[in-house]
């Protein structure tokens, strides 16, 4: 459903993505891992056109686009079929939890208010936030905000959800509640592309893992194979620093 070929991106002459290719099939949960500064977040942002990639192509839902040559209309169309969950949640600060979830339906998709609110409440229930429907983001904890953000992503019924380090700003306890919601989505067959530092999530929830470093994909493999039999020396070194072996029996 999503195929990226040779995507490239530099910031002020410094290459951040060099020829990254990636395939996500329907129902896949792909974890992108790697050290900070490896280009993971930039990759995700380019896929949703928050950054403009310098080169490469992407096939999404059967249509092929050349990065840097995508019409505004097409960007809007692609965005309506995708959703994005940010590291810093980015809930609309002037909207309640429910309004955050319904905004994209009512404003961008012209769904009647009553039906949008019905959908919104269903999504808030799904992430366990229905009782805080009228709370503003500033009145919620980080974990609660991120769960509302996930409900907002779900509300528009996307074909794929991009997660950009969704738990990096949270303490371990709050991380757990967000990961639980993501695991539930994975079980329901949602297609997800997740940039993460949570090795236990990559190992136990994702079915494929992509390891990036310095703007290239070092290794991409099914999750089990990636953790149990990493092929590349760099991957092994990375997993060691994370102490990923300690996670093996966890969860």
């Amino acid at each position: 459903m999503l195929e990226v070929r040779s995507i490239q991106k530099s910031f002020g002459g410094t290459p951040v993505l060099r020829d990254v290719s990636l395939t996500v099939a329907k129902g896949d949960v792909v974890a992108i891992v790697g050290p900070s500064g490896s280009g993971k977040t930039t990759l995700l942002r380019c896929l949703n056109f928050l950054e403009t990639a310098d080169g490469g192509e992407m096939t999404f839902d059967g249509e092929t686009f050349r990065f840097g040559h995508v019409a505004k209309r097409d960007i809007a169309r692609i965005r309506r079929k995708t959703a994005f969950v940010f590291q810093s949640y980015n809930l609309f600060r002037n909207k309640t939890a429910l309004q955050n979830v319904t905004e994209g339906l009512i404003v961008a998709r012209k769904v009647p208010r009553a039906r949008a609110e019905e959908t919104g409440m269903r999504m808030l229930e799904k992430v366990g936030m229905a009782d805080r429907r009228d709370a503003y983001p500033s009145q919620l904890s980080g974990g609660q905000q991120q769960r509302v953000a996930i409900a907002r992503a779900l509300a528009t019924d996307p074909e794929i959800i991009y997660f950009d380090e969704p738990t990096s700003a949270l303490d371990p306890e709050l991380t757990g509640e967000v990961l639980a919601v993501m695991r539930q989505l994975a079980d329901e067959g949602m297609t997800m592309l997740v940039v993460t530092h949570e090795m236990s999530f990559a190992r136990n929830v994702s079915n494929r893992v992509v390891f990036m470093e310095n703007g290239v994909v070092v290794e991409a493999a099914p999750a089990r194979e990636f953790f149990d039999h990493p092929r590349e020396a760099r991957t092994r070194a990375f997993l060691r620093t994370f102490g990923a072996r300690a996670d093996m029996g966890a969860d």
């Binding site: 949703n48 928050l50 809007a76 965005r79 309506r80 995708t82 959703a83 994005f84 940010f86 810093s88 980015n90 809930l91 609309f92 600060r93 002037n94 909207k95 309640t96 905004e103 994209g104 404003v107 961008a108 998709r109 503003y136 983001p137 500033s138 009145q139 907002r152 528009t156």
Partner: protein, 224 residues
Amino acid sequence: MNERLWELLTDSFWQILIPGLTMTIPLTVISFALAMVIAVVVALFQFANIQGLKQVARFYIWVIRGTPLLVQLFLVFYGLPDIGIVFDPFPAAVIVFSINEDAYCAETMRAALEAVPVGQIEAGRCVGMSCLQIMRRIVLPQAFRTAFPPLSNSLIAMVKDTSLASNITVTEMLMTTRQIISRTYETLPLYCVVGVIYLLFSTVLTKLQRVGEKRLSSYGAQKE
């Protein structure tokens, strides 16, 4: 205090308050409303980084902020007639006050717009909203919240600045006070009276500001 003076003070209080209600307040409200509308547009030109329009906005703010309000009033009311453009006192005052106030409010709004985190805009794009929708529903409401206290400040300053309009023959409160003084020669008490009335107006606005801020803060003390 002698009775004659007391009577003069109470009489003149009402005599001065009436032009306050019929001149000072309308002049302030109309000018400020106009200023706000243009200020948002001028601020958006800069925020959206529209070349050309942005430079025009910067030039306009540079000129207006860099010249005295009184000079601007004289220029429009006494100067422009030389080239055949004649305004009545009140419209001339409205034009100058709104243009002048606008330059300050535009800067306040620009700062408030820039204070909205870029993540708010990105989130809007990701849920499929258009630029206009993001501006109208997400960015501007948040910017207004940030701008509200400094804008209230400008409004209160403006009420007092309207006294300058007496210089172009608008019969507002100060003009009326001067007329009473020229009849009665009670200079000190009468300037005190007009001062007290300005203070009353400012006090009401300060209270309103507090109520407004409480209303707006319902979506929370802005963290971060």
